[in-house]
């Protein structure tokens, strides 16, 4: 039965997340945008609260840690599970502040990676810790197959060497999930992810970035120098399976792309809601039954943006729903990320224009959302990478054919 509404059972969670966004995130949003690199201590108490929420329910929480692919063992019965609830929670929290969401202890993308591919032993060992994700290198961004950080087995330990940049929450997290290659000559298949404890002496913080947006979130650059981790720190299978190729490592992304899409949806909605109110105060009400072109130009523009927002929102829920129901969603996850990423930027910048100097000035949050928005069309795969993934899937092309 086709129904594209927020499921009843998740409404309490959505409402809780919205309260957190309203009461905790929004009031400190500007403060930590200005005080870049200072830790938002307000989040500690909140993180415990969210841990509690996650513990107390079987439907997943409001953060990234809840994401795990479900196997659909119950004969095709429709499921609304942790992928969907997580996406819904993230939308609300990012409606509050995406930078603060990214700074939430124990809700990092590294946590999703662990949740996605970790063994039960690893889940046991690393559960309850805050994990950041380190993929990008100075010479390898979108082209993550060409990373140069190496991992060599030495007895019962792997030895990691290389340089990692743009590690979200890298300074604050307990763990860093580091992508490294077991054998550069093999290519993609040899790329594995390793869990490195933040206090490992081989992991050296080089610097924290100054950024356009999401300034509440720290973005760290590291050097790994003979960084030794136990053999059990390797996530997933240690086998270098050339047939499977990159699939193992990329599996994480099918689960995390809808999350980033959800962040973009949340930011876009914040901008739209604020703008709707300000347009109404200026005497422009958006009417849904009157044709767009018979309304004020600002209302028509708003409708156009709201329509894109809705498409992004629905694509995001679709990708999460498919994951909950054990359906392969790589195509839909990338569609959601592509649509939400670009929509978020267009909408946030469009809202700044509609609100004029009120939108552009720092007295309000519209300009901040417009700055925050841009990263959402970049990290976890840029717009162009998503289009590439979508195109390869639609056209049935390999990465060698369509580069």
């Amino acid at each position: 039965m086709i129904n594209l509404e927020i499921p009843k059972k998740f409404k309490p969670l959505v409402s809780q997340a919205n309260q957190v966004a309203t009461e905790v995130f929004r009031p400190i949003s500007r403060k930590y945008d200005e005080a870049e690199h200072s830790y938002p201590k307000e989040l500690d108490m909140l993180a415990s609260l969210i841990d509690g929420m996650n513990e107390g329910s079987d439907i997943g929480g409001a953060g990234a840690a809840g994401v795990r692919r479900e196997s659909n063992g119950d004969g095709g019965e429709n499921r609304n599970g942790s992928n969907l609830s997580t996406v819904l929670g993230i939308i609300e929290l990012c409606w509050g502040d995406v930078g603060l969401l990214l700074s939430m202890p124990r809700q990092g993308l590294g946590n999703s990676a662990i949740a996605s591919v970790a063994t039960d032993e690893q889940l046991e060992r690393y559960g309850g810790k805050w994990a950041a994700m380190a993929i990008t290198e100075p010479e390898a961004g979108s082209d993550s197959a060409s990373i140069r950080t190496t991992a060599e087995l030495d007895g019962d330990e792997y030895v990691l060497n290389g340089e990692k940049i743009f590690v979200t929450s890298g300074d604050r997290a307990d763990l860093i999930v580091v992508w490294a290659t077991l054998d550069r000559s093999v290519g993609r298949a040899a790329i594995k992810s390793f869990i490195v404890e933040r206090d490992n002496p081989g992991l050296k913080l080089d610097r924290l970035e100054h950024k356009l947006g999401i300034r509440a979130s720290d973005t760290a650059n590291f050097t790994l120098q003979d960084c030794r981790v136990p053999k059990e720190a390797l996530l997933g299978s240690p086998e270098v399976n050339v047939k499977e190729g990159f699939a193992g490592a990329m599996q994480t992304f099918d689960n995390t792309r809808p999350l980033v899409a959800a962040m973009a949806v949340g930011v876009a909605r914040a901008a739209l809601e604020e703008t709707r109110g300000r347009l109404a105060a200026a005497g422009v009400e958006v009417d849904y039954s009157t044709p767009a072109l018979s309304q004020h130009a600002a209302a028509a523009r708003f409708l156009e943006m709201e329509a894109d927002y809705e498409a992004a929102w629905l694509l995001t829920l679709q990708a999460a729903w498919m994951a909950d129901n054990g359906k392969p969603n790589s195509l839909q996850a990338s569609m959601a990320k592509a649509k939400a990423g670009r929509t978020c930027v267009d909408v946030a910048l469009g809202c700044v224009e509609l609100c004029g100097s009120v939108g552009y000035g720092e007295n309000e949050l519209l300009e901040k959302w417009a700055r925050d928005a841009k990263i959402l069309d970049i990290f976890e795969g840029t717009q162009q990478i998503q289009l590439l993934i979508v195109a390869r899937q639609l056209l049935g092309k390999s990465s060698a054919e369509l580069r």
Binding site: I2, E5, Y288, A307, D308, Q318, L402
Partner: protein, 445 residues
């Protein structure tokens, strides 16, 4: 079994399957249903020239077959409260039958239907056999759907438009009138008109809202309905009605004295009605025409239902959802066509789809058509559950108008000069998809 039989049977078997299941649902046999109306010869006006004006079709006599105390209504659908993208069994059955019909019958007929500005009668009859005209007819009046059918209508519209959007319009237009009467009509109106839509000889009929002027707003109609004694007097003009010269029944929107915009049921024989041919850039198989309404006098009972303003607004929004459904189907047709083309067409020594400039355009078609689809489904499913859906319909409308047009344009662009010539269907889809931002009324879910 011969090869021809095998070829034919796939579409027809699925159509038969659809019918059987429908009949089971209805608890009665469609084919044995009592014929309650006199057959009247249909006037044919194919090939009418632009500006040529003719009388409306002679039309049958509509007579109430049974009297119900109060209007029959389809039930609201009930949701389990879970997010779900899977159609239910009944919807899936309609969807599959619609797809098979579209692929095997509609698409092969599309080129000629576009050139001739006519949909073969055989195709219209087959579509009627699928049950497309009676989705909105309550069970008490011979309908087959217990619950409201906006989602089902969208799925069928999408499936047929994947074959051809203009043929889909021609085939689905009569159902819009039946659905309008089934949703808002009085008991008398239902009993009089609905049985005709459940039989074998479904009348051509049109839901006439759109008027010929720029910036048309369905809430500000220029067609008027004045009260004169106990009668209504209608005057105005309506645009782009499917198979206008054949129509035996109209539901016409007019600004009514003391009410505001409202719908009126008008039989084609009414004095003062005439039809003008109105060819357009697309939707040509629907043989679009303009209805001229010159002081047409109607009894008080011609007002559809109680003439509630909110019913009219709902009608406008439901028709927008229907057009989006068609746009989604046509957009999918573009995507399905450009993929093999871009993979097979070579330039500079390799398939053009190996180039990001081409490949990304195809990604965008995929992304935007999926977004349109989901927005349309959401609006339709809200309507079926009796929830507010004006916002969702408006959203779907914007996407249908903007993305539909872009997808139509991109489809031609990807084929370059080959896309501009009639050897490929993309130029037709370019013309048809523009309709999703123009049409008001005419279809209904």
């Amino acid at each position: 079994m011969t090869t021809a039989d095998t070829d034919r049977s796939v579409a027809e078997r699925s159509m038969g399957f659809g019918l059987r299941a429908l009949n089971r649902l209805a608890g009665s046999d469609l084919l044995d249903r009592i014929r309650i109306r006199k057959q009247v010869e249909r006037a044919l006006f194919q090939g009418a020239k632009n500006g040529f004006r003719s009388a409306t079709a002679a039309g049958r006599t509509f007579k109430a077959a049974q009297k119900l105390g109060k209007p029959a209504r389809q039930a609201k659908s009930r949701s389990k409260g879970l997010f779900d993208l899977a159609p239910d069994d009944e919807q899936q059955m309609f969807q599959e039958a619609g797809r098979a019909f579209a692929e095997e019958k509609v698409r092969p007929a599309a080129l000629d239907a576009d050139a001739n500005r006519a949909t073969p009668k055989e195709l219209l009859d087959q579509a009627a056999e699928l049950g497309v005209d009676m989705l909105g007819v309550p069970e008490e009046l011979g309908g087959v759907m217990h619950e409201q059918s906006a989602v089902t209508s969208v799925l069928i519209g999408e499936a047929l438009a994947h074959g051809d959007m203009g043929i889909a319009y021609a085939a689905l237009a009569p159902g819009a009138v039946a659905t309008a009467i089934g949703l808002w009509g009085s008991a008398e109106q239902e009993a009089t008109y609905l049985p005709a839509f459940t039989g074998e000889d479904v009348p051509a009929a049109a839901l006439a809202i759109l008027e010929p002027r720029p910036l048309f707003d369905p809430l500000k109609l220029e067609t008027v309905a004045h009260k004169d004694g106990g009668e209504w007097v209608l005057a105005g003009a309506k645009s782009l009605l499917a198979r206008a010269t054949e129509c035996e029944l109209f539901v016409i929107a007019a600004e009514a004295d003391g009410i505001g915009p409202a719908l009126f049921v008008v039989e084609s024989g009414a004095k003062g009605l005439s039809v003008e041919d109105e060819p357009a850039m697309g939707l040509r198989p629907a043989a679009t025409g303009r209805l001229l309404i010159e002081d047409v006098r109607l009894p008080a009972g011609a007002l559809l239902g109680e003439g509630k303003p909110e019913d009219y607004v709902e009608c406008v929004n439901r028709s927008r959802i229907a057009w989006c459904g068609l746009a989604v189907g046509a957009a999918q047709a573009v995507l399905d066509y450009v993929i093999p083309y871009a993979n097979e067409r070579t330039a500079f020594g390799e398939p053009i789809s190996n180039r990001q400039g081409v490949a990304f355009a195809i990604s965008d078609i995929g992304i935007e058509s999926e977004g349109m689809r989901l927005a349309t489904y959401r609006a339709a499913s809200r309507a079926d559950r009796g929830e507010e859906f004006a916002r969702e319909a408006a959203i779907a409308r914007r996407l249908g108008a903007t993305k539909g047009m872009q997808i139509g344009s991109e489809g031609v662009q990807l084929l370059g000069g080959h896309g501009f010539v009639k050897e490929h269907p993309v130029e037709r889809w370019y013309r048809d998809l523009r309709a999703a931002g123009v049409m008001e009324g005419a279809l209904l879910v």
